[in-house]
């Protein structure tokens, strides 16, 4: 079972949901397809969606909500 990494396209702050009181886009264990949004990156006060970009199952987040990330940093991984 190989793991596939999902990396942040941008530097900024990572958010798991669209608003503080909204449910997260995805939770650990979810199945994802490549068009699914897994979170948002806030960069200079603007928000960009982060697509999974891959298909897989057993999603696992490696970055907590509201944590800073650098471009290319692994945000989550899935099993192929």
């Amino acid at each position: 079972m190989s793991k596939i990494e999902i990396r942040s396209p941008l530097p900024g702050t990572f958010y798991r949901s669209s608003a503080p009181d909204a449910a997260p886009f995805k939770v650990d264990g979810d199945v994802v397809s490549s068009g699914d949004t897994i979170g948002l990156i806030e960069v200079m006060k603007t928000f960009q969606e982060v697509p999974a970009g891959v298909e897989g199952k057993a999603l696992r987040f490696l970055i907590d909500n509201e944590e800073p990330v650098i471009a290319g940093q692994v945000i989550a991984e899935v099993e192929a």
């Binding site: 702050t13 200079m44 006060k45 800073p68």
Partner: protein
């Protein structure tokens, strides 16, 4: 009490600006910073720097306890809040004063009063400052709405009393519209906010955004003329000028006098800005709000009046009376400020934090560049995209535009995208030269003139 040491509770270019003003006054400076800002220019320029927390603003620059603790630990006399962050937070002003320190700005109560839109509108009305025509408060029924709309004229906005941030607003173009929308708006407001209360406000079409710089020491109040800030994108100012050159002199005098009257009404202390919409068809102006802090665009006022607003606000906070009377304030020439953002205007203004490879700053008479950039500096992604302000002054507006073009061409920033190409296009635009712009001008212009312009490129500068 004269201020001998000052903590700067901000970051970026304004922190640099405050430190320079403090140094000119012989004041020791302490700069707070987040862990992401340890290498920012203000940290290098300050006499002392204190780490107040993680990158997220709410954990550092918006953390009242962290900032006040740093101020106490550093043993400073005063705290300057800059703009944004905690600058208009009344609780912060109170916390600073409660710690026995001086807040560079008005008292917490004044910030609270002027920050409340309804209360500020009442203050303006008491001071005789015109507010946007509309209902005095809530309106109870359609008959009352009809009577108000007959008085104000159309179009009118039907606003939910409990709404905000653009929610719960409908526009009625005539009486039939009003009669149709009013019951629906009330039902919607009830459903959305649990409160069906409505009020009416006239829509000011073709409005310019004009604002007046005020200074007060609690007893004496003066204005430093007006700024024109109509060029905005998504409600953010992009380009500002002083003076508002098409404003008739008689209107300018009434406008500036009204801002002073408002300052006097609340016993204002510090530097502030009274914002207005100006309807040039009717020649009327209407109060919008008061900003109780230094503004991003304060340099255009400094360039035409020769007054250092940041130094003046520090002196006032230290207990000194205003160093000027109204007759001392004279305006000369014309100034324009371009906000240089780390955004790519060719890609929908996508922000682009990154490392500055080359920085070449234009110099010469009437050219000023307020910035926190230096070669090798990495702009963090956690804060806003403003990286500098190019301010140009000349004897006339036409000469100012020419000098601005040359200055923009000589401003070289590589390593990040910037809005310099946008400003070059604006500086060369006929409508901008004629001053034919209002608050909605720029967004339309971007779609019709800029997006379609051949040869637009992020490589222009």
């Amino acid at each position: 009490m004269t201020i001998r040491s000052l903590l700067v509770a901000n970051r970026g270019e304004i922190a640099v600006r405050i430190i320079k003003a403090a140094k000119a006054l012989g004041i020791r400076t302490v700069q707070v910073h987040s862990t992401a800002d340890a290498d920012m220019l203000a940290v290098k320029l300050a006499d002392e720097a204190i780490d107040i927390g993680p990158p997220a603003p709410k954990k550092s620059y918006l953390n009242i306890e962290a900032v006040v603790s740093a101020a106490k630990a550093a043993g400073v006399d005063a705290v300057h809040p800059g703009y944004g962050f905690l600058s208009e937070n009344a609780d912060f002003a109170d916390a600073v004063e409660a710690a026995g320190l001086t807040f560079v700005g008005p008292k917490g109560d004044a910030i609270r009063l002027l920050g409340d839109k309804v209360a500020a509108r009442e203050v303006a009305a008491r001071a005789g400052v015109p507010t946007v025509p509309g209902s005095a408060g809530r309106i109870s029924n359609l008959d009352a709405a009809r009577a108000i709309a007959e008085r104000t004229g159309f179009p009118v906005m039907i606003k939910a009393a409990a709404g905000g941030g653009g929610r719960g607003i409908r526009i009625a173009g005539d009486m039939a519209d009003l009669e149709r929308h009013f019951p629906q708006a009330s039902a919607e407001a009830q459903a959305a906010f649990g409160d069906g209360g409505l009020y009416l406000e006239k829509v000011i079409t073709k409005a310019r955004h004009v604002e007046v710089q005020i200074l007060g020491d609690g007893r004496n109040f003066i204005h430093c003329f007006e700024r024109e800030c109509s060029l905005q994108r998504r409600r953010q100012k992009v380009w500002e000028e002083a003076p508002s050159f098409l404003l008739p002199q008689s209107v300018r005098e009434r406008l500036c006098a009204s801002a002073v009257a408002l300052a006097r009404e609340v016993g204002y202390r510090g530097a502030g800005t009274v914002e207005y919409l100006y309807d040039e068809t009717s020649g009327e102006f209407y109060f919008i709000e008061v900003n109780t802090r230094i503004q991003v665009e304060h340099p255009v006022t400094e360039m035409i009046t020769g007054i250092d607003l940041v130094e003046e606000m520090i002196r006032i906070a230290g207990g000194a009376p205003l160093s000027l009377v109204q007759e001392d304030v004279t305006a000369r020439g014309h100034a324009i400020e371009c906000r240089i953002n780390a955004e790519d205007p060719a890609r929908g203004f996508m922000p682009g934090p990154g490392r500055i490879e080359t920085l070449r700053v234009p110099e010469g008479e009437g050219v000023r560049f307020d910035t926190m950039l230096y070669e090798g500096y990495s702009i963090p992604p956690f804060y806003d995209s403003l990286v500098g302000k190019l301010i140009v002054w000349a004897e006339t507006r036409d000469a100012c535009l020419e000098r601005l073009k040359a200055a923009l061409e000589n401003l070289v920033i590589t390593g990040i995208p910037t809005t310099v190409p946008l400003h070059l296009a604006l500086a060369g635009d006929d409508a901008v030269r004629r001053g034919e712009f209002r608050t909605r001008f720029l967004e339309t212009w971007l779609e019709t003139k800029f997006a379609g312009a051949p040869g637009k490129s992020a490589e222009v500068a």
